[in-house]
């Protein structure tokens, strides 16, 4: 081993990144923890801004003790100089530089200045973002993603208006609805397109993960306590309003997944928090040439990608929640530390984490099948006038023309013919919706840069400081 401690750049300070940083720092590696937020925690443990002086932040969180352990561990390593936490650093690219890697970040909300750090290896813990399938009215102000509503609440203690509907599909909707209700919003309904039958089909998976079952039951009990009606196998068909949201139309789904005749009703609300699951952030992995496996980054049993020196953990490898992220992060951190310090990784040492990982991956595969299969016919409800690409304002009719009259058969051709996906967000918001309306397979787009970068920065990127 050389005198210089090897440097591991961990990108993302959510559960996976924190678990990885702690595991690696404890085993002889110097960790650069690079994260876009001002405070560690990621989306799951998003912290109220310090200036808000929250004395009981746990009221908006789950598994607060785990967070306290992570926070204490991070503080200890920061104090000992084993971890450096680079906050407000939005990583836009990781590139190979001979045998090392360079991590490029844009600073703060202005995003005009870039800094670079050099590392011997990189661990991607970049998490996920929300998938929202379009429907008439989804661009109205007052409609936010379910995770967005939660982020505004957890980070900014912000609620808008007083009457909310939480809708879509997936396990995230439960904590969002309970959080909004606890914070004082009147949650008129939780509208879940999956039905009790399909959820029951995954009962075996639930039984295999009793902690998850207990968590779901606790959330359901809290909803009942606050008298939030859960409307299963129903969907929001349309959001109404002129300049802002005023109401939504909800309908029950029939056996074929179509709105049942006579089941439509209108609910007044000023906020709609909507989500249809999460999508892994894979841009940095893509830029490095890592192989994807479905929507997430492919990893081996040690959480290594197929690119040497690049590990991945947490939602970026496939969406599965915070506990799975902690297990994957722990394994990735230990594996990276061993390999960077010239030791042979010892899977026996992380056997409990590996068992938790296997169990939870099985659980989430079953859960995904129960939820994701549900909005099968949503695209039929998307009118030709409905904007599907929010940035470029491309209506569904234009996408249908591209497929029908112009013969586009894949997402890339649809994009070239309609500009859907060419706007500021680079298709992150519209990709699943455009694919659904077009009837194309959803193949994650290759984005070599993880966020928009000023041309000046691209032309003259920052150089990393000389190796320590």
């Amino acid at each position: 081993m050389s005198e210089r401690r090897p440097v591991l750049a961990v990108i993302g300070a959510g559960p996976a990144g924190l678990a990885a940083a702690l595991a690696a720092a404890a085993r002889g590696v110097r960790v650069m923890l690079v994260d876009s937020a001002a405070e560690a925690g990621g989306q799951f443990y998003r912290q109220p801004a310090r200036g808000l002086g929250a004395r009981r932040p746990e009221a908006l969180h789950h598994r607060w003790r785990t967070w306290e352990r992570l926070r204490a561990g991070l503080d200890a390593h920061l104090g000992a100089g084993r971890v450096t936490h680079l906050t407000d650093h939005h990583v836009w690219c990781v590139e190979r530089d001979s045998d090392r890697l360079v991590v490029h970040s844009l600073l703060g909300p202005q995003q005009t200045e870039s800094v670079a750090v050099r590392a011997d290896a990189v661990l991607l813990a970049t998490g996920a973002y929300e998938k929202v399938l379009p429907f008439p009215g989804w661009t109205l102000p007052g409609v936010v993603t379910a995770g967005g509503a939660q982020a505004l609440l957890k980070g900014g203690l912000a609620l808008s208006g007083g009457t909310a509907v939480v809708a879509g599909t997936g396990p995230l909707l439960l904590p969002v609805a309970t959080g909004l209700a606890a914070a004082g919003a009147r949650v008129v309904a939780l509208v879940e397109s999956a039905g009790p039958k399909s959820l029951a089909r995954s009962a075996r998976a639930w039984a295999a993960a009793p902690a998850k079952l207990a968590e779901g039951a606790e959330l359901a009990a809290r909803l009942a306590l606050r008298r939030v009606p859960v409307m299963a196998r129903q969907v929001v068909l349309e959001a109404h309003g002129v300049d802002r949201l005023e109401s939504v139309t909800v309908a029950a789904l029939d056996g074929a997944g179509r709105p049942a005749p006579g089941s439509r009703r209108q609910l007044s609300c000023d906020t709609l928090a909507v989500g249809h699951g999460l999508l892994p952030h894979t841009d940095l992995a893509d830029g490095l040439g890592c192989r994807l496996d479905g929507p997430g980054v492919w990893v081996d049993a040690e959480q290594r990608t197929d690119v040497p020196g690049v590990w991945a953990a947490g939602e970026t490898t496939g969406v599965g929640g915070a506990t799975l992220s902690l297990a994957e992060g722990h394994i990735a951190g230990r594996s990276a530390a061993a390999r960077l310090t010239g030791r042979v990784p010892d899977p026996d040492g992380w056997a409990p984490a590996a068992r938790a990982r296997d169990r939870l991956r099985t659980f989430f595969t079953a859960l995904d099948a129960a939820y994701a299969a549900q909005p099968v016919r949503w695209a039929e409800q998307v009118t030709d006038e409905t904007v599907v690409c929010r940035c470029e304002e491309v209506p569904a009719g234009a996408v249908r023309d591209a497929v029908g009259a112009l013969g586009a058969g894949d997402l890339r051709t649809v994009k070239l013919l309609t500009r859907a996906g060419m706007g500021w967000c680079q298709g992150r918001m519209c990709e699943p919706g455009v694919a659904g309306v077009a009837g194309c397979a959803l193949i994650p787009a290759r984005r070599l840069l993880a966020r928009p970068v000023p041309l000046g920065v691209l032309a003259d990127p920052a150089e990393p400081p000389a190796a320590p």
Partner: protein, 99 residues
Amino acid sequence: MNPLRLVRARPGVPFTVTFDDREIEALPGQTLAAALWSGGVTAWRTTRGAGRPRGVFCGIGVCFDCLVTVDGRPGLRACLVPAAPGAVVRSQSGSGHDE
């Protein structure tokens, strides 16, 4: 109940930002999106094509719906920019570079 009471917040001294010539109260640490959202403002931009109103959508910096002009600089994501005392926030139309 409100979010501040729920977490027993003792925020620092509130301040104001101006939003299209009216005063909006913000708390230290809140982003502009959080301050506007709490203040009941849901739209602060109109789109380039149809001129439709937009505000915060994803809340975490991915969607670019919440673009706003701050102290004369257009195209900033309100969900990332911390509110600062006296900041002059203006609704943005089009790309923000048209005026």
